[in-house]
């Protein structure tokens, strides 16, 4: 009897956890990427997919045991299971407080060293905090895309986190707009982390208002972001293949 109750409880909690995870994926409301990812499609065909994440502090997160639980690691895990037989490797180049133009300066070296098929460029928050001219921010993104496209890497921009506590104190609008515009002009994919997290908060999937010292919520947020990114990468690659088939 006791065993039965324990089993039941386990089943229930597992079910609840699964429902919660499902919630975060559907509640994210992330649509299909606006553009395809041709280099990723080629890499998948060659069974070896290298991805570089360039970003600031919000691309890093360490659990209590010091294990890396940030979204790049989660992305790697999710892609590995979505793409059986493909060797997936995600490398992170994240430094706290780094602005887009500082990251732009090291892009050249990153693409020469790691030759990624895809660069996920997370930026915006540090620039907003430091009050960088949004126009300079836009120019940095634009020349960064120059470097990445010349190195034959696909580009995904990831914008800032939605942070309700600091929302009234940190004006991110102009930077989010700049990322949207450059993505559109340069046919880069935008991963709209801001809107996704905002929807999570509105739908009660994650309580982003609450103060906490533990990494519980952060871990689940990053896990979900990683899996959403993985879906986006796979969809983006398929999109390219579909377009190719159409034109041939």
């Amino acid at each position: 009897m006791r065993r039965f109750v324990v089993a039941l409880l386990c089943a229930l909690t597992a079910g609840a956890a699964a429902a919660k995870d499902g919630d975060c994926m559907t509640a994210a409301g992330a649509g299909a990427p606006d553009f395809g990812l041709p280099r990723v499609a080629q890499a998948i065909a060659k069974k070896k997919l290298d991805i570089s994440v360039v970003g600031s502090a919000s691309s890093e997160l360490n659990g209590p045991a010091g294990t890396n639980i940030a979204y790049p690691t989660r992305l790697e895990t999710a892609l590995t299971s979505l793409l059986p037989g493909v060797a997936v490797k995600v490398s992170t180049f994240a430094r706290p407080r780094e602005t887009a133009s500082e990251m732009e300066n090291k892009l050249e070296r990153i693409v020469t060293d790691s030759k990624p098929a895809l660069v996920i460029w997370q930026t915006g928050t540090a620039d907003a905090i430091r009050g960088v001219d949004p126009d300079e921010f836009r120019v940095a993104l634009d020349s960064g895309v120059d470097v990445l496209q010349a190195a034959k890497a696909d580009v995904v921009f990831m914008n800032m986190q939605y942070s309700p506590r600091t929302e009234a104190m940190l004006a991110v609008g102009a930077y989010a707009d700049a990322m949207r515009i450059v993505a559109l002009q340069r046919e880069a994919v935008l991963f709209d982390r801001f809107s996704i997290m905002k929807r999570w908060n509105e739908n009660g999937v994650f309580d982003l208002y609450g103060a906490t010292r533990t990494t519980n919520i952060a871990e689940r947020v990053h896990d979900c972001l990683g899996r959403l990114l993985a879906n986006m990468v796979v969809t983006g690659a398929k999109l390219t293949t579909a377009i190719k088939k159409d034109t041939h």
């Binding site: 928050t125 309700p164 600091t166 009234a168 707009d177 919520i217």
Partner: protein, 388 residues
């Protein structure tokens, strides 16, 4: 069909300035469902344009008369005194802001937001930031409008002098400065990085244009403003802006906008008062003048009284609005961020603004000054421009 005449009080100015103050308050509360009603969601321009234009208009109205009656020096001195009052108000708001942000910095912790906590870094070096704030170079989010006014007012005495003598030259000078600003990318540097969010060299265009209208420009333009062609052009442009705004919210709709148009149009630059924003404001103004004639009896109705009252004490109510938007956000963070709370804090904020405006009017009455058309003693002026 009435256009404002110089030297006559126009309640529409108070009405729309009051409404603009409410909209600015609502827009400054983040994640507030109520700010879906504000105009920035349905076109290019927002309440800031209305506010700057009307402030230019009333500044010319009040100080233009002072300059004619008491001379350039007296009127110039009064304008500078006003600029000083706005400066003091700004520093006062900064103190309140710093108190709020310090509290949040100490009470909030979440490993997810390690990066965002960087905005509290400035608290670590008060020696630098406080001085930079007093120099108007360090301006926290949503505290950019008053510094713009201070600069616009400080530069206004010579411009007013010119407007009274050669209005056309003054207007050409203003447009030239605007064009040069765009061409050479002039702006005032900010701390720790970047430039002013509202570039005074660009936004002066709207302020001077308002002043020019007040000093007879509107009459000179009346044939143009009241022609049906202008009205249709304005309506067409508003419809276009509305459609573009909808593409921001309805996924898939932006596919209907041609690529070349998007590349030409974006970014719609708020810092430098994009031409699209200016045109959108002008279109709104043309339609509004048609819809609400100057002597429309509704302007004296009880329903519009609250907005008009707020518009008559704009500096005080503007500052109160900024403070209340901090307070509303604070309440949402600390108590509840639900839709009910958003609506309640928005409504409560507007009620407090109206009550305060009524209280200020009452004070002025018992002190023997009226917020009427006659400019009272120097102190009677409210924000750039006073009782008008």
């Amino acid at each position: 069909m009435a256009l404002p005449k110089p030297g006559e009080r126009d309640l529409r100015l108070d009405l729309f300035r009051g409404l603009a103050l409410w909209l600015i308050f609502l827009d400054h509360i983040p994640s507030n469902i109520v700010n879906w009603i504000t105009i920035r969601n349905y076109g290019f321009s927002d309440a800031t344009e209305i506010f700057v234009f009307i402030s230019g208009y009333t500044a010319a109205f009040v100080y233009g008369r002072a300059m004619r009656e008491h001379g350039t020096v007296v009127a110039g001195a009064r304008i500078l005194k006003r600029a000083w009052q706005v400066y003091v108000a700004h520093i006062f708001l900064f103190a309140i802001y710093t108190a709020e942000i310090s509290y949040v910095a100490h009470s909030f912790e979440n490993p997810l937001y390690g990066e965002e906590m960087g905005i509290f870094d400035f608290l670590q070096q008060p020696d630098v930031t406080l001085v930079q704030a007093m120099l108007l170079k360090f301006k926290p989010a949503n505290m950019d409008v008053l510094p713009l006014y201070i600069v616009l007012l400080a530069g206004f005495p010579p411009m007013l002098w010119l407007l009274l003598r050669r209005p056309a030259t003054a207007l050409v000078a203003s447009v030239t400065l605007y064009v040069l600003t765009w061409h050479f990318e002039w702006n005032i540097p900010a701390y720790p990085n970047g430039n002013w969010v509202f570039n005074p060299f660009a936004w002066q265009l709207l302020f001077v244009f308002g002043a020019w209208c007040a000093l007879g420009g509107a009459e000179r333009l009346s044939l143009v403003i009241l022609s049906p062609v202008t009205l249709w052009l304005a309506l067409l442009f508003l419809a276009f802006a509305f459609f573009v705004a909808m593409t921001w919210y309805i996924p898939g709709l932006d596919a209907l906008l041609p690529r070349w148009l998007e590349e030409w149009m974006y970014p719609i630059d708020k810092t430098n008062l994009d031409v699209l924003r200016f045109a959108h404001f002008l279109s709104l103004a043309v339609v509004t003048i048609r819809l609400i004639p100057r002597h429309w009896h509704g302007l004296h109705s009880l329903w519009l009284r609250p907005a008009i009252l707020c518009g008559q004490h704009s500096l005080e109510i503007f500052c109160l609005g900024v403070f209340l938007s901090f307070a509303a956000h604070f309440a949402m963070v600390e108590i509840n961020e639900g839709v009910g709370m958003q609506v309640a804090t928005s409504l409560l904020g507007i009620i407090l603004m109206v009550l305060t405006a009524a209280l200020i009017s009452w004070y002025k009455r018992i002190e023997g000054r009226s917020p009427g058309s006659r400019p009272g003693p120097p102190g009677a002026a409210t924000l750039v421009g006073g009782g008008a």
